[in-house]
């Protein structure tokens, strides 16, 4: 398994949000987690990425057999995990290029790999930005500062493409996107599909799934996966609502 989550319990500020979540994602597959507000979808993403304040009270999570929960956030990144944020954060004064290059080389260093030269890095990041329709000028601007919602999401996709993770968790990557941006972002996600990579989409709506076709859909309600099915489950959800499925 790429990512194996077993009976995961997570509390935030003492309140239990994830209540025994179990999930196993194989390499080469694309998954979508759908669920109503407050089901704990974003909590799952943050917990996997190791954010402070998300306390694992029980259960396990492994990435390629490695205990994910024992690692610091940057070690998880180096191990191949990427979390695309619903609200990408602004870092004033730090250019996109400097940020991404520092991140890439920090990861490579942790993995015992050589640093990427400035020239190679620039070539790589420009190519990825072009594919994802991000104006190359924006690479020089401070991270996400003054970016529109769509630009921020494209920027996340550029980061993902450059960092080349093997396990991608994308939290509401489709939110706030117009149709054109959604199409570009979807292309970015589809470009990452590979036999040795796994993608987990966290989403509210069926809309993204028209562009990125998942192999499996998991319905999450109240901190647990309550149903797993194929793509048709999304349409069923759209029709019947979460209430009917969870009941």
């Amino acid at each position: 398994m790429m990512l194996k989550i077993d009976n995961l319990h997570v509390a935030v500020d003492g309140k239990e949000i994830l209540k025994g979540l179990t999930l196993a994602l194989a390499p080469g597959t694309v998954h979508a987690i759908m669920g109503p507000n407050g089901a704990g979808k974003s909590t799952l993403g943050y917990t996997l990425a190791g954010r402070d304040g998300y306390d694992v009270t029980a259960g396990t999570a492994t990435l390629g057999g490695q205990d994910l929960l024992a690692l610091a956030p940057h070690e998880r990144a180096a191990a191949g995990l990427f979390l695309g944020l619903q609200y990408p954060v602004e870092i004033p004064g730090v250019s996109n290029l400097a940020f991404l290059r520092t991140a890439l080389n920090a990861q490579r260093k942790l993995r015992g790999e050589a640093e990427v030269s400035a020239g190679d890095f620039l070539k790589l990041v420009r190519a990825k930005a072009k594919e994802l329709g991000l104006d190359p000028e924006m690479l020089k601007r401070p991270v996400n500062v003054g970016f529109s919602g769509g630009e921020k999401k494209r920027n996340e996709m550029v980061q993902m493409a450059v960092l080349d993770p093997k396990m991608m968790v994308l939290d509401e990557t489709d939110s706030g996107l117009d149709i054109d941006a959604l199409r570009v972002v979807s292309q970015g996600i589809n470009a990452m599909r590979a036999p040795d990579k796994t993608i987990l989409l966290i989403t509210h709506y069926q809309r993204l799934l028209d562009y990125v076709e998942p192999d499996f859909i998991h319905v999450m309600v109240d901190g647990r996966i309550v149903k797993t099915g194929d793509k048709s489950l999304a349409l069923e959800l759209e029709r019947e609502g979460y209430g009917a499925i969870a009941a």
Partner: protein, 487 residues
């Protein structure tokens, strides 16, 4: 995060990587301060009578002055009689080449990574940027490089003692004209006992062919450092001057009271950059340098410009206000500052922009970073005199707090006597958000790398003012200063 900061902050003490002292035999003046000491210093340097008189006048004034107590810094009373006021390395101060330098001094420089080894660059690899290093070691300049090339351009770059001998009229014409001997307690003390320093003169219309650089280093135990710097740029000239400092670890507090005077005549431009990383004391505030500096520039001529850039990461106590007197019309004054305080460090720093000339303009960008129990105060004065028709100032003071036990204080004074003046003041105080920290970490940066990156971003507007050689060093220094700021 604050909790983690406290827990790990002590790591920093062990990481002051330049905490060593080299073993150069010093030739001390007797301990204490009196007229005889002033005479001793003057005699030791073979000074002319007028300079001795000048020193004595300052000393007598100083006796009647009171140490200022208005700054937001606390330190035990300084016993001015319990310090040495003169120490010179035994090596003959007039070396022909760097090879003649005391090997102990060379090793000290090497540990610091100081580019005396930059001789290769200095030796003139075509196209390489040239930096002339006038190395001040324990009060006396022991090595001066590339004087010849500078001389070709007509630029005078000497230790101030040498300059007094070789160009007495020039020194006499300008010394004390920007910071008069009665200016303030520390400047007056400096005037009485200054040991050495740097003199630069750039003649009319000359653009100094290289960046001038002096590395100060406090070395002898209990030796107050009283550097005196005087830079005069004649009409249409330009110079960029870099000042960088490190000091070995000492238990006892060391007093440093430097004076820097800049004079820019018509259309002249002076860019003065400082990276200061003297020993800041340990985590409990034991030891560290007391840094009481008076820096002031006079934009005397029309359209002259003076720009101060400082990155202050060291010293236990910093008391420093690099200022511009904008006397001429259309003059420009700039102040770009980064001040980082960690552990028990205290910094009270800022600038004064005195607008006298018509249409004089000034910009102040101050970035304060407070870590551990550090206390950071921005203190600034923007003063517009009645004559300064159309004066403009823009001030931006940003503070970043990295712990709940540190402090950031902003004390801006604005005095405007001309109704046509435009003054803008912006100030922010923030902390690194958990969102930013997590975001950077989730992309592969460790907590410390993330903090260093975010702080570098915060300071960017200032760092990009630094010459290339310094920008890299400054970024590294910021990283070092922040070590232990997160768990």
């Amino acid at each position: 995060m604050a909790q983690d900061t406290l827990a790990t902050v002590e790591d920093v003490t062990g990481t002051y990587k330049w905490g060593f002292s080299s073993d150069v035999e010093s030739e001390f003046a007797p301990k204490g301060l009196n007229e005889d000491i002033v005479r001793f210093i003057s005699a030791k340097k073979g000074e002319p009578a007028w300079l001795l008189e000048w020193r004595l006048k300052a000393y007598r004034l100083w006796l009647g002055m009171k140490e200022p107590d208005w700054a937001m810094v606390r330190y035990p009373p300084i016993d001015y009689q319990d310090a040495y006021y003169y120490a010179a390395p035994k090596t003959a101060p007039t070396l022909k080449s760097l090879d003649e330098l005391d090997p102990e001094i060379r090793r000290t420089y090497e540990k610091l990574g100081i580019p005396i080894e930059e001789q290769k660059v200095l030796a003139g690899v075509e196209g390489a940027r040239k930096v002339a290093v006038d190395a001040v070691f324990d009060s006396v300049s022991v090595a001066t490089t590339f004087r010849e090339e500078l001389a070709k351009a007509g630029v005078i770059f000497l230790s101030i003692s040498e300059a007094v001998k070789q160009y007495p009229e020039l020194v006499r014409q300008y010394l004390g004209t920007v910071v008069p001997i009665h200016d303030n307690y520390f400047a007056t003390l400096n005037s009485a006992v200054f040991s050495d320093g740097t003199f630069v003169y750039v003649p009319k219309g000359v653009r100094c062919p290289m960046e001038l650089s002096t590395y100060f280093r406090i070395n002898a135990e209990k030796t107050g450092q009283f550097e005196r710097t005087l830079i005069v740029v004649d009409e249409g000239g330009y110079v960029s001057y870099l000042e960088g400092c490190t000091a070995p670890m000492r238990d006892e507090n060391q007093l440093h009271a430097a004076v820097v005077e800049l004079v820019a005549l018509g259309d002249a431009e002076i860019k003065y950059s400082t990276v200061q990383n003297w020993y800041p004391g340990d985590k409990d505030g034991k030891g560290g340098i007391y840094n009481f500096v008076t820096k002031r520039g006079l934009c005397k001529g029309t359209r002259s410009k003076i720009s101060w850039t400082q990155v202050e990461t060291g010293s236990a106590v910093t008391w420093k206000y690099p200022s511009c007197v904008l006397a001429g019309e259309d003059t420009v004054g700039e102040f770009y500052s980064v001040a980082v305080v960690n552990n028990r460090q205290q910094a009270d720093t800022g600038t004064k922009m005195i607008h006298i000339g018509k249409n004089s303009r000034s910009t102040i960008i101050s970035k304060g970073v407070s870590v551990g129990h550090g206390q950071n105060t921005y203190r600034g004065l923007v003063k517009v005199l009645p004559s300064a028709e159309g004066a403009r100032n823009f001030t931006q003071c940003d503070s970043l707090l990295l712990s709940s036990t540190s402090g950031a204080h902003t004390v801006p004074y604005i005095e405007v006597k001309n109704p046509s003046a435009q003054i803008e003041h912006e100030a922010t105080t923030s902390k690194i958000s958990d969102d930013q920290l997590f975001y950077a970490m989730s992309r592969g940066l460790s907590a410390e790398e993330a903090v260093a990156m975010i702080v570098n971003g915060f300071c960017r507007e200032v760092l990009q003012q630094l010459p290339m050689e310094f920008a890299v060093e400054a970024q590294k220094l910021l990283g070092i200063s922040l070590e232990g700021s997160v768990g």
